[in-house]
Amino acid sequence: MSILACCVATKLSIPRSTLELLSAARSLSQQLGQISVQALLIGFEVKEHASNLIRYGADEVLLAEHPRLEHPEDEVVLGLVEEVVRRFTPKVVLFPHDELSGGHVAPRLAHRIKAGIVTDCTGFEVKDGDIRWLRPVYGGKAMAFFRAKGAVQIATIRSRAFEPLPEEPFRKGEVRELDIAIEAFVPSAAIVERVETIEAEKGPSLDRAEIIVGGGRGMGSAEGFKVLYELAELLKAAVGGSRPAADMGWVPHSRLIGQTGKIVAPKLYIAVGISGASQHMVGASSSKTIVAINKDPDAPIFKLAHIGVVGEWEKIIPPLIQILKETI
């Protein structure tokens, strides 16, 4: 019996979500009474990461390496994980809640192996030997504990919900290379083309940025967003937008923050011209500090922000940029 944490890595790096997943797995293992944590490492030329996974909390690494796993198709990962679960019969299977695993692999796996499943979890507790999975519902307006019934339980873990454990340089564990015929998994849907439409953005991505500047309907135009990009560049921040801003094309949809976009959790979120509709705030409310700049003193955002500035952004952001230029 084990907890299986499924990680997809590239030759260059292990994603932060993997370390967070191992942290979640360790915590669950402790609460369940020290059952072992197996990490399934999926990728091509990723073997050297295995020892890292052990130092960050895995007791054993199951290594699945294959050229086809460099940019793996959803269905190939699904086939692989299904096979691993059948061989190793874990009690719990954890995935990061990302496009590949949360959106595709975990649900289909649950259906195939008749497991219980809870997606996008931010925590859990063990009560009388049963796991209660914690997650936000109704766009973050409420929280709920879920039970997943089945011989196997599957959960996907929301990014940033767990902090990676500190590295333990002398932690020991086994690495086992899996002998699974990856070629046998033939995806019915295939990627036939990749089209790059968005230039590689300068500065950090929404997922990694320590500071995010977000704009909403109040920005009025794509032109308005240029000022936010200027502010973001100064602060080494990423730019995001609310649903109206994205729908009107002022920011690309890949930068949409909210219930229908990205969930972010930066150290500082500066919300400009954003009223604070729950659709958006769901995506931003995990930020450590929220600064709101809005001309309407009654805007709901001021009930959710830590620091508020009442005023027109047109008159506040340009001098702010000037002041920061002088002092940074």
Binding site: G103, R108, A142, F145, A189, G249, T260
Partner: protein
């Protein structure tokens, strides 16, 4: 091409925090007098289906699982441009989990029969698990492509789907029939249903299929494997500190100072 879109009617997610209540017995949101809407990604899925019909021909059928109140969502879907609608309604369908819902929807799709493409929103706007779409593909034994934003091409029993990624998009080819879960991008902002079209849609006959019509029994639907144990509204006690200043410039300066003091910048 016959496209079937599965939609869910939910309580308007824009209900503000202070009016949001949980019913401690059912462990769901209290209905109150809040409006009902089509779940956001499902509305996007409808838009994708209607656009595909406009580009490649065919028809759009919309299906929902719910009570008579859900007819309103189907009327809206017809007014947006769907051709036919079906309501799946039976006391047996209440309180089923995502596994059960997928099984009921699969029975309805088999009854519809000649579908080519099934579209589901990537996740519902209330509980947001994102399970029913992939489960339904498994139930039907058809390929599943997730997080798709549009249909690019459809011919010769194959379909090309656009899936947004960080730097642009991928084109995914899948054989028909298949299922796609739909996410939003700039190409699929849902159209409004005009009042005139809504009025016309209200007159359209909408068949209701019960468990008997679908040949379903509780044993087939199965027991719930996903259960909500407890639900509560977390306390929010954020005190907003307002930055003062005689002029916008002074406010900007004070904001910069405060952020530096807090070591946030």
């Amino acid at each position: 091409m016959h496209i079937v879109v599965c939609i869910k009617q939910i309580i308007d997610p824009e209900v503000p925090f202070h009016l949001f209540r949980i019913d401690p017995v059912t462990k769901t949101q209290m209905r109150g007098s809040h409006p009902l809407v089509i779940s956001s990604y499902d509305e996007v899925a409808l838009e994708v289906a209607i656009q595909a019909k406009e580009k490649f021909g065919g028809q759009v059928t919309v299906v929902t699982l719910g009570s008579n109140e859900a007819l309103q969502a189907l009327h809206q879907a017809l007014a947006m441009g769907a051709d036919t609608a079906v309501l799946l309604c039976d006391p047996m369908f209440e309180h089923v989990d995502s596994f059960g819902k997928a099984r009921i929807l699969a029975a309805a799709l088999r009854k519809i029969g000649d579908f080519d493409l099934v579209l589901c929103g990537r996740q519902a706007g209330d509980i947001e698990m994102g399970l029913v779409g992939p489960f339904l593909a498994e139930e039907l034994g058809i390929p599943c492509v997730t997080l798709v934003a549009n249909v690019i091409a459809a011919e010769g029993g194959k379909i090309h789907l656009k899936r947004p990624i960080e730097t642009g998009y991928e084109v995914i080819q899948a054989p028909l029939p298949c299922l796609a879960t739909i996410t939003n991008d700039e190409s699929n902002v849902p159209r409004y249903a005009s009042v005139k079209r809504l009025r016309a849609a209200m007159r359209a006959p909408i068949p209701k299929w019960s468990a008997i019509d679908l040949g379903l029994e509780p044993a087939i639907i199965g027991e719930a494997r996903i259960q909500i144990e407890e639900m509560w509204v977390p306390k929010r006690e954020i005190h907003c500190e307002f930055i003062s200043g005689e002029s916008p410039e002074e406010k900007a300066r004070n904001l910069a100072l405060r952020l530096k003091e807090l070591k946030l910048i």
